[in-house]
Symmetry: C2
Subunit: 470 residues, 2 copies
Amino acid sequence: MSSVFDTTRRRSLPPQGVAEFKEIFGTRFVTSGAVCAHYGRDESPYPECPPDAVVFPRDADEVAQAVRLCNQYRVPIVPFGAGSSLEGHVLPIEGGITLSMTEMNQIIAVQPEDFTITVQPGVTRTQVNDALRDTGLFFPIDPGADASIGGMAATRASGTNAVRYGTMRENVVSLKVVTANGEVIRTSSRARKSSAGYDLTRLFVGSEGTLGVIVEVTLRIYPRPEAVTAAVCNFPTLADAVRSVVEIMQTGTAIARIEFMDERAVGAVNRHSRLELAETPLLLFEFHGSAGGVREQAEVVREITRDHGGSGFTWAENPEDRARLWAARHQSHFAGLQLRPGARSVATDVCVPISKLVDCVTQTVEDLKSAEFPFTIVGHVGDGNFHVQMLIDPDSRKEWQAAEAINHRLVHRAIGMEGTCSGEHGVGIHKIEFLKAEHGVAGVELMRLLKHAYDPYNIFNPGKVLAWDA
Amino acid sequence: MSSVFDTTRRRSLPPQGVAEFKEIFGTRFVTSGAVCAHYGRDESPYPECPPDAVVFPRDADEVAQAVRLCNQYRVPIVPFGAGSSLEGHVLPIEGGITLSMTEMNQIIAVQPEDFTITVQPGVTRTQVNDALRDTGLFFPIDPGADASIGGMAATRASGTNAVRYGTMRENVVSLKVVTANGEVIRTSSRARKSSAGYDLTRLFVGSEGTLGVIVEVTLRIYPRPEAVTAAVCNFPTLADAVRSVVEIMQTGTAIARIEFMDERAVGAVNRHSRLELAETPLLLFEFHGSAGGVREQAEVVREITRDHGGSGFTWAENPEDRARLWAARHQSHFAGLQLRPGARSVATDVCVPISKLVDCVTQTVEDLKSAEFPFTIVGHVGDGNFHVQMLIDPDSRKEWQAAEAINHRLVHRAIGMEGTCSGEHGVGIHKIEFLKAEHGVAGVELMRLLKHAYDPYNIFNPGKVLAWDA
């Protein structure tokens, strides 16, 4: 698999450019092999691909200086947050400079009255919630990994709470961004809504570092609910579980989380997190609200799940049990990896209209019967989004190809059902080929016009989201 | 005021182009003076500005043909929905063709299981809700006027329900758009969320017809709440009312509507809608939820408002009383107009972070003391958004200038408080000058790059949102 990247596209700084970087960044311009190797890996199945150098900026102005130099020398520049990407976003496949955001990790301001917090892009989501501890507020978006806020904004991340609180699309209030000519712009004000011109905020959210570098993020935060409870419910079949979800959504009950795990995923987290969940398809719920409100929500759910053969509806009212349950769900990626020691994970990420979810999941399970490797299925089913984790032997071209073929069929199945090739992981390298099927040639062409207008020398994370040439 | 538009910028079809339009549209290509005059007016204070011709397309393909011709002849093309714009969006100030959306008024599909509805752009919001009558679902976005869905998407409209349900930004799932070269693209799938490339949907939402023509809209819809109640509460001062709102928001109570009216606005709606509301600053609330949930919400609100001097907290549980109350609020624009027969209304539309709302409103009232014309203040205060309606003599240049000066100071006050020049009305002609103050020169330059890339001959609603040249 080491031949997947076209090395002829690599572009490097000339000695003069290196000297200029060193003058600005001193010892924070690093070319050591070990450091570059670290920044050449993420959680995707791709092989290591190190940058030429890693730079550690501390503020927007330093990022602007780095961008200006890269633009002058036509050299790629790739921001790197926590490295938790699953689709190869942060791999500098055309060489150049990686911007490590580890030193841009400051909370800039908490504005509790306005339900906003402003942070540097290297701040992680748990760091945001730590900073909010004494305010009675919290930041709900939770992709599982302790991702950086810059990375989450760049990939339009979401996760388990999105069914109630939305994704990064709905929860980024404003960004500061460095443009190709090194200017720092603010994409919008801190007002809750605006009709003042094109939505630059949503344009950069999900752009995966290909249009500019995010150097500051203002997030929307929420009052911590008065009461939180969780529940687990087992089902005879996956279809029963998914049908319950569709019906629950139709009641309009604003449940905070509705997660699906198949029996394989449950087995994996049982072993990894020492839980004793019954190994059937199950749904995990979390309810947020007033004490009375969460009881009402749970009652609705208990009734609907019973109608669909659900059993063993159990509560986790105390915070420790709840935390244990959700930690297990969050560890499911790593738990899955342990099903096959030494394996690499290929994760799929389609999202379909909820009316199509049962069909999409069941057809996918049918397709997976041919697979010779272990797999698990988990899903943010309230949103119609689910993941298959396929555990392949990294040295087996045959398994890689089989996994890719399953993914390919799954994506086209989802698009055929008016769904998307990526619910939350992003395009990166891995999904580029599917964008035309999803958006049409003319739709991708609109995206390309944008890329060419904002990044005329193709320096911003080249080779991601879309190909430079048609 | 008839000299406000630069007539040298008008561009007209050559005879050959007129012939081609007639061949495609027959009698649906109209140049009669009365029809053109109708399409040269909106609810803004600007003088009439008729197009050269009005075309009545019936589907996306006909719009594509019209756009192709306009692009070929470099002639402006301006979509027109319900004509309820307040900032001059639909005035064809550079001449050319107006696309009347009156015959593109079909509901295309209702997808209740997915909480979506797909409509042509000329469908109005009440038409959407009529189509949903038997589904148990509703479309909450409500800007007051019975605007067209295409126009609401184009201006990123919102209104009274936005505090709970968001704006058109959050509630447009997908669009079909005609691009400059006459291609029809779909901006996204019907999935609830996606990370598949640049957010073309949000790019066209709020673009005011300047990047392409919206020919189909898929909206998010919601389960109708089990219980709905409304309440009114009077306050000694405006600041007391606004402080209550800030505190209510902090409890996290998901109130559907929190509207402010000043004593002048209350007086106007009393007379217009034959109500007998006490003429003090007041807040109007609407609660959505389960029967228990709405009672809980109302209790929270009653307590907080009492702490801030609120009195006369009265309920409107029965649907007729509620409808009467909200109809009055919705009529406040027209009610205000009657305060001064023959007047024109200049409406402002700033939105600030909620922590700044008391200061912004009180400083604005102070500023308005100098005004020689009547005015009212209403606001979607849960979002930090408020409007001053200034009733000026249309023949008085002095009053127009005074109103403009107040608006100018208000906008800069809001921007200075990290707010926006437009919460929901849009930029149109009237707010162009403020975008640089809000987004910076570099931010507006990013918008201009986009406009030039998507509309190389400046045919799409030219002279709106931003100037073609820097």
